[in-house]
């Protein structure tokens, strides 16, 4: 039996350094955060944000957001978010000096196995927010990285410069250019495999991409990890509202996205 668990997640108000639009759809929120929280953060983890009340809207439950960046040296915690409803609309009203109550870091991070030398990130839209810190970690570990970034329009491609600055090969696919369809994505990935550039896949969010990567993964015996989303209430494992089904052996199990995830084995995830 283990000893009494140590404190790993913190509830505290952080002050806003900036909160600016990145493009027509996404915003970047930068918070000033203490060093001892930032040094606990890992790629793939998230914070549970207590969105303020704004414009007559009163978001009640917290909202989960992936860590987009954590910089102990600058004392900064970054979130990249898309305004979709009451909570994120309220987040968008925050400005310099405002305080935001955060809870975290939470959840299981991405892992990079020792023999995964060539990593392939496949992301679309706001999924990039979740995968961006993984690029930093891969760079730190000296792994080679290919980032396949997909979006509706070239204007909505985010983080490509960031990935490039970390030494990643960036491949962009967009609906507007007709390059983002699954057939093309499959060709691109098969090309990487043929070139010996794919030891593991990392993805998040999209059902169609999950299915495709599972098929390719099975075909070539390539493992992977996926960051999943589910609506959350507590964010720390107490309420069991965030479960999703997974295949373990020949059984179906329900796991909590906030606790056993949000990062899961790509092959165990069940497409929805």
């Amino acid at each position: 039996m283990d000893d009494v668990p140590s404190i790993k997640a913190f509830e505290l108000p952080l002050s806003v350094k900036s909160n600016e639009p990145v493009n027509g759809e996404y915003r970047l929120l930068v918070l000033a955060a203490p060093h001892d929280i930032l040094k606990r953060c890992r790629a793939g983890q998230f914070f549970h944000l207590l969105c303020p009340q704004a414009g007559g809207e009163t978001p009640y439950l917290r909202r989960p957001m992936s860590i987009y960046g954590f910089y102990p040296e600058k004392g900064e915690l970054h979130f990249l978010y898309k305004v979709t409803g009451a909570g994120t609309r309220a987040l968008a009203t925050l400005s310099l000096g405002d305080r935001l109550n955060v809870l975290g870091p939470l959840g299981e991070p991405f892992t990079i196995a020792d023999d995964w030398q060539d990593l392939v990130l496949v992301a679309r839209g706001v999924g990039l927010a979740t995968l961006a810190p993984l690029a930093l970690e891969a760079n730190r570990l000296g792994r080679r990285l290919t980032a396949i970034c997909s979006a509706r329009h070239p204007d909505y491609l985010m983080s490509t410069d960031y990935f490039e600055s970390l030494g990643a090969d960036v491949i962009t696919l967009t609906d507007a250019e007709g390059t983002s369809d699954l057939d093309n994505l499959e060709k691109v990935i098969e090309g990487l495999i043929a070139a010996g550039r794919a030891d593991a896949f990392y993805t998040c969010g999209s059902n169609r991409m999950l299915r495709l990567l599972q098929t390719i993964g099975e075909r070539h015996g390539i493992p992977g990890q996926i960051a999943l989303e589910q609506q959350m209430a507590c964010g720390i494992g107490m309420c069991h509202c965030c479960v999703r089904p997974f295949t373990r052996g020949n059984r179906q199990v329900h796991l909590r996205v906030c606790r056993e995830g949000p990062v899961f084995d790509m092959m165990e995830a069940i497409a929805w």
Binding site: P5, A9, L61, M238, C239, H240, C241, H254
Partner: protein, 314 residues
Amino acid sequence: MVDLSVDISGLKLKNPIMPASGTFSEDLAEVFDLDRLGAHVTKTITRGWRDGNPTPRVCEVNGSMLNSIGIPSKGVGAFIEKVVPFYAHYETPLVVSISGNTADEFATLCSEVSVPGVAAIEVNISCPNIEEDGKAFAIRPSSTHDVMRKLRAATDLPLWAKLTPNTGETSEVARAAEEGGADALVVANTILSMAIDINTRRPKLGNLMGGLSGPSLKPIALRMAYQCARATKIPVIGCGGISTVEDVIEYLIAGASAVQVGTATFIHPTIMLSLIDGLEDWLSNQGLSSVKDLIGSVIDGEQDESVVFMEAAP
């Protein structure tokens, strides 16, 4: 120093603040020291393994929430093997919440969880009773009485009966639980509710209906706690919508000997600590030396001119 300790039919708690079943777990130990709480109350368990309800399992409604988690459970074996030893790390007493589909199944589970390390058993009689066509035991006095008698015979541990607001007979159900052998009443569980997405025209919960909890529930649960405290001689533990120290004080004045905090922990995981500290400060500012002085101090009889409306005078 203010004495925050309370006595729930012989079980001594160092303070009257504890979590509500289903809104607490071992996971919270990674956010604060669980030994600060008055008691630990587990999520309801069932005898066998259960999956719980379809997703989405929660939604928010006007500053409160609905849930239809169901009772996912790993079963009593896994509970005794894994969960009970975890709480043995703490001095705080462990209260285990249980539920069953029939009175006999309920009683069997009750004796199975009467193991060392468990200080009391909270019986969630707010869940569907298969023998009564799915109506919760605690909707009616008669089924409440019957199940409590079987539970009483099944254990020597203190029994807390958790009542439902989905009844029109609060006082009668409370008395039936007391007569059946309950040592305390937990008042109350969630109110059956519904929310619909007007764009998709689909209910917002996968299970169509769910339980309302959070601030909207408070006036109703507070009224019930007051009624139950008047109708019985056993301690009442207030539960429903508590998120501030004032809420705690209100429940205590209404007659509750302790309170459970549920949904508020989802919003502020450390809220129970603030409530303990805030209660101590408030009592001390009022010049009260013990929380017991507050319990049941509601002035609900003849108006006493000397205390009422002093501040309202021009």
